[in-house]
């Protein structure tokens, strides 16, 4: 993919090994242009989450290690930074499965997002209101324990919490997980809003290829720890292979069993 404008995040040929033996990423390179939304697509186990965690450096806690390659954020090497340092630099991850602090109220959850910032109470207050403006529902639930809120509200809390850190880049892992289609649209609308109004760049990992490609500017498709395809989101959405393998749309009528072979062959070519 040709880089358009400045890239805010550059992942250069990284290899990730878990527990010193399990090779999960086999040379992944990608590029997030400043102010854009980039989707990272692929099936279970393709390496989406690992890629995000390699960037946010949450890998180390899971005994994963970036053994080759480099990661640059705003032109600076960040692959040896701790998560708190990265958050201060402006990169924050919203983990898969929300991971709200269940016993803290929604508002307390949001406040923890501002932990790394040394600013006045008044400013934190302003930021809270800003988050509530994007997620009016959270304002209603501000005093409920996060563990007792709905899945959608938890996802909003998790994104809002990240927002409190004033990031310039959010790594969003599987925001659609376990949510009703309507809510998924709602969340993605907000992501687009944040992208346009707050100028936050997004790298989002998603299984829901259809929604992700509609909202993203660029897409990368991962398979078995490798990037097998990339391009503008609109181009990917119309690509025959993507349509068939990831969107479940095939050109012809119903496929017969004989075509399964063909499918395998083409998949292999992809990988």
């Amino acid at each position: 993919m040709s880089v358009q404008g400045n890239s805010i995040l550059t992942v250069n040929n990284i290899e990730v090994i878990y527990n010193h033996v399990i090779l999960v990423l086999k040379g992944v390179s990608l590029d997030v242009p400043e102010g854009k939304i980039v989707a990272l697509l692929g099936a279970n186990g393709a390496g989406k989450t690992t890629t995000l965690k390699a960037v946010s450096n949450l890998l180390r806690a899971e005994r994963g290690d970036v053994t080759k390659g480099s990661i640059e954020f705003k032109g600076k090497r960040v692959d040896k930074m701790t998560p708190p340092e990265l958050v201060k630099q402006g990169v924050i991850q919203v983990m898969e499965g929300r991971h709200c602090f269940a016993h803290l109220t929604v508002e307390e959850n949001l406040l923890t997002g501002a932990y790394t910032r040394k600013v006045s109470r008044a400013e934190i207050r302003r930021d809270l209101e800003r988050v509530y403006a994007y997620f009016p529902r959270l304002k209603e639930r501000r005093n409920s324990q996060a563990g007792y809120t709905s899945g959608g509200e938890q996802q909003m809390t998790a994104i809002g919490r990240a927002l409190m850190a004033h990031p310039s880049m959010i790594l969003l892992d599987e925001p659609s997980m376990g949510l009703a289609p309507q809510l998924v649209e709602e969340i993605f609308e907000i992501v687009r809003d944040l992208n346009q109004k707050e100028k936050v760049s997004f790298l989002l990992a998603e299984q829901n290829t259809n929604v992700a490609l509609r909202y993203a500017d660029f897409g990368y498709i991962l398979e078995n720890g490798r990037v097998v395809m990339d391009g503008k989101a609109a181009d990917l959405a119309t690509n025959e292979d993507v349509k068939e393998f990831y969107l479940g749309i095939s050109s012809g009528a119903r496929k017969s069993f004989r075509d399964a072979k063909h499918y395998r062959r083409r998949k292999r070519w992809l990988a």
Binding site: S56, L58, V87, I92, H103, L104, E108, L111, G113
Partner: protein, 293 residues
């Protein structure tokens, strides 16, 4: 009736002493989900340090400040040397580590300060005073006052400060806390330092009651039923649990004891705790395990 009230008040005040020890457990359990077996050793270590510094001729306040500094330092060292290497390990591993720590701290304390029994006089009379016919121990009242101040302080700390909120966040979800940029190492150092401070207060009060000696580490055993009753995650719970344990054990001793030939004070709290586990495993005030289905 007067006798009943006297026993009750005596029990409640004795319970506060248990609560003081239980609070140290709650602090560390809240922030790391680990039952810190070394809390008893920390109580002994704090009391020993204080008495020894006092014996060197330091005035009371200086000794207090120095001991506090030692306890905070101890907390920070524990985090650096032990806990940091055990991030994301199963909790049983952490628990085993605290058992090791417990033995180490006990040994260290007696190696540095010696193992003879010291007396400790906080300058509070242990003469009971007469309150409308009920005799109340002044010392116990003082201890209750200390506990009240500690609880109020810790509650404010946990709920109103940024670092307190971070502590609770870490307790809920290590990974998520890391992802928003909360540095686990600072948080744990703070919490162990705070537990050291609580151990100091407990050590001084228990030390002046029992004498500063090895047996101080055993007071933690009485903290266990308190924790089960009050809940491992609640500081007010530790107080209420302590009050209930203290009151029931004294009342049971006086009113039920004779039927068993006496001495039931020593095991009654554990029976109570066991019964409680069957009915309310989270304790009276513990955080409910939130599970979404």
């Amino acid at each position: 009736m007067l006798f009943f009230i006297e026993v009750l008040i005596g029990g409640l005040l004795a319970g506060v002493m248990y609560s003081l020890v239980a609070m140290g457990f709650v602090l560390i359990y809240k922030a790391s989900g680990v039952l810190n077996f070394a809390q008893g050793s920390m109580v002994l270590f704090a009391a020993l340090s204080f008495v020894s510094i006092l014996a060197m001729g330091a005035p009371f306040w200086l000794a207090l400040v120095l001991t506090l500094a030692i306890m905070v330092l101890l907390g920070v060292v524990i985090e650096k040397v032990v806990l940091r290497r055990l991030v994301n390990q199963p909790q049983i591993t952490l628990f085993m580590a605290t058992i090791g720590l417990s033995i180490l701290i006990e040994g260290l304390g007696q190696m540095i300060w010696g193992s003879q029994v010291h007396g400790l006089d906080l300058g509070i009379n242990d003469i009971p005073f007469n309150f409308y016919g009920v005799f109340i121990s002044q010392f116990d009242l003082f201890a209750a006052g200390c506990a009240a101040v500690l609880v109020a302080g810790l509650s404010l700390f946990f709920h109103k400060t940024k670092i307190g909120r971070a502590l609770r966040a870490v307790a809920d979800d290590h990974q998520a806390a890391m992802s928003v940029g909360i540095p686990l190492k600072h948080v744990w150092a703070v919490v162990w330092a705070a537990a050291g401070f609580v151990a100091l207060v407990a050590g001084l009060l228990w030390g002046s009651r029992l004498g500063v000696q090895f047996a101080l580490t055993l007071v933690v055993l009485k903290a266990l039923p308190v924790l089960i009753l009050g809940g491992f995650t609640s500081i007010p719970g530790a107080i209420i649990g302590g009050l209930i344990i203290g009151a029931t054990e004294k009342l049971a001793e006086v009113y039920i004891g004779p039927y068993f030939g006496g001495g039931i004070e020593n095991w009654f709290p554990y029976v109570l705790a066991l019964a409680f586990l069957l009915i309310r495993p989270d304790g009276l005030f513990g955080e409910k395990h939130i599970e979404r289905v």
